[in-house]
């Protein structure tokens, strides 16, 4: 094998200019795919954190059976009672991978500053549990003001655009109104305990976070419409869901469990779009690499037809000729991807140093452009491009190996 590697390497070095152009094409292709992969890797991570911690979806959400289908029509019937909530929390928190199981309730209605009113959507959360779910997210999107607290049952956190619209600042007062589960009109005073950026311009002028007990009072109920579960590792989401489904159905609790990515439509849409762009870029690179290697190896085969005839006369079998050029193709792929890795690291370092930012569509504020280095993905891409180069080299080599030896020897 060594002799074929030696011959391949020397032939690559012999045709410096042609090899250089091919290596650059492979390196650029590798870097383009790898950098984009690093970018979407970071974006997916950010979107996941945004859904799980920012939106407060947790990793799993448990609904009473039928809530998602008919909950809007008859909420009282499809909400969990106090007793059910306690049983679910006890059972779920026994799981080793569960950090927290907390009840929540969604409410909606009108919010007013006394002069103007507008609609709101609110999430009723237990402040202590909400802090656990948010985790480090609060450092990324901090709440201005003191925030939710068990001590102040009427203190709420308000989306920045909504607060601005109502001309309310932390410490300001307002009123929110909604109909109870029985259909009666109800209104409660609020104090803006904090304002926050939801990250999306579509929700920043509508969202409010209120204490769980406050939301129950507004709806005049002791129930909750869901239990949000936080896990110690997002990768365990699917297996834990299956396990909890078994546990809860075994305990006779009719429920359905949704994962964070099923509930976050934004995540699904963005992921779908990026996956499509990735495939598009990857297809272009795929074609460039194949064309470059086929062209280079085609030229090499043509120039070295006499050499192939000589090797065949000396006793090299047809598969030996294929191997010779396959090794050369693989070597081009290997060297090209090594240059690609170097290019990738340089671009990554420049981005880290410059720290550029941009405002994505639908976002309420700039986000930093971050590209991750993902060694596992880089390795897979490297192996794929080496294999691709190898296959592309075999195409012209097979044609050469099939030639009559005399014709090959007579080639000028």
């Amino acid at each position: 094998m060594n002799k074929w590697i030696k011959i391949a390497l020397r032939n690559i070095l012999k045709n410096k200019r042609r090899s250089f152009v091919t290596l650059i094409a492979i390196a650029m292709g590798f870097a383009a795919v790898s950098i984009f992969q690093g970018y979407i890797h970071n974006t997916y991570k950010g979107l996941r954190n945004s859904a799980v911690r920012g939106e407060g979806l947790g990793h799993l959400t448990i609904y009473k059976q039928g809530w998602l289908e008919k909950g809007k029509i008859d909420p009282d019937k499809y909400m969990f009672s106090q007793e059910e909530l306690k049983r679910i929390s006890d059972l779920v928190e026994e799981d080793d991978d569960v950090i927290l199981a907390t009840p929540q309730i969604n409410i909606s209605g009108l919010v007013s500053n006394g002069r103007t009113s507008t609609i709101f959507l609110a999430n009723g959360v237990i402040p202590r549990d909400d802090k656990t779910i948010k985790g480090t997210w609060t450092a990324f999107r901090p709440v201005k003001g003191e925030g939710l607290s068990e001590k102040k049952s009427y203190g709420v956190e308000m989306g920045e655009d909504l607060a601005s619209h109502l001309d309310l600042k932390p410490g300001g007062y307002g009123v929110i109104m909604a109909t109870t589960l029985d259909g009666q009109m109800n209104a409660l005073d609020i104090e803006v305990a904090g304002t926050y950026d939801t990250g999306s311009s579509a929700t920043n002028d509508k969202y409010i976070r209120v204490p769980f007990t406050f939301a129950q009072s507004l709806y005049d109920t002791e129930k909750a419409d869901r239990v949000v579960v936080l896990l110690n590792d997002w990768k365990k989401t699917d297996v834990t869901r299956e396990r909890l489904e078994d546990t809860l159905s075994g305990a006779g609790i009719a429920c359905e469990i949704k994962t964070w990515n099923e509930l976050s439509l934004f995540y699904l849409k963005v992921r779908g779009m990026f996956d499509m762009i990735f495939m598009f870029i990857f297809s272009i690179v795929f074609i460039i690499v194949i064309m470059s290697v086929v062209n280079t190896m085609g030229m090499a085969v043509l120039e070295r037809t006499r050499e192939i005839g000589t090797l065949r006369a000396l006793g090299l079998k047809r598969r030996g000729v294929n191997l010779l050029f396959a090794v050369e193709g693989a070597m081009l792929g290997f060297l090209g991807t090594i240059f690609g890795v170097i290019l990738n690291v340089v671009v990554w370092a420049v981005i880290r140093a410059v720290e550029p930012s941009y405002i994505p569509p639908g976002s309420s504020s700039p986000v930093p452009l971050i590209v991750n280095l993902v060694p596992q993905s880089m390795l897979v891409l490297m192996l794929f491009l080496i294999l691709l180069s190898l296959m592309a080299a075999i195409l012209p080599a097979r044609r050469a190996a099939k030639q009559n030896v005399v014709d090959a020897l007579g080639h000028v």
Binding site: N2, K3, K6, I7, R10, N11, K14, R306, E307, G309, T310, L311, R312, A313, L314, G315, L316, K317, R318, G320, N404, V405, V406, L409
Partner: protein, 228 residues
Amino acid sequence: MKLIEMEEIKKDYFLGETVVHALRGVDLTFDRGEFVAIWGPSGSGKTTLLNLVGTIDEASSGQLFIEGQEIKKLSDDRRTELRNRAIGFIFQGFNLIPVLSALENVMLPLEIMGTSFSDAREAALRRLDEMELSDFVRHQPDKLSGGQRQRVAIARALVTNPSLVIADEPTANLDSDTSRKIIGLMRDLNEKEGTTFIFSTHDQRLLDKVNRLVRLEDGMILNGGNEK
């Protein structure tokens, strides 16, 4: 057993719609240890005959036996193995692999055979030493003179200790002095090691050294078994 037996060998080429009869029913045998020249005017079929004996081309009809094996019945792989083991080639244009050194070129047939690197190197160095090329083992072909290249090619042809060496116009690209040396070298190897040499040539100096001359004209043998 004869080393090579050819029975009614014909070879036709197609040039568009024209059929060229390169060999028209050749019967020929070669014994081990012969030093034979195939001689004749251009287009007489010398190279075609050598290509068939070297198993790098196939006859249109007739039978060819090498070491008792009928070549037509061998698969491409078996034929290639036979070439590697039993036949050495010396080409008019040397046909050395340009990216390999003299030593690596000579080692190549053994490495293809699967011989270990150290054994291949040892055998190649010995052959290069016989060709008085010990000082040039690391030189690449483009750094060698024509005579040196041809000696490397001879070393490569002999490194597997083949029973047959085929040389197509081995002195055609060499000056007189070098040609004389190369001819002497091949004759010595033939006498010392008993290797069969079959070559095509127009070179009178080479023709003077052979012990058998096969004269071809228009694809037919005029003087097939003439002993000198």
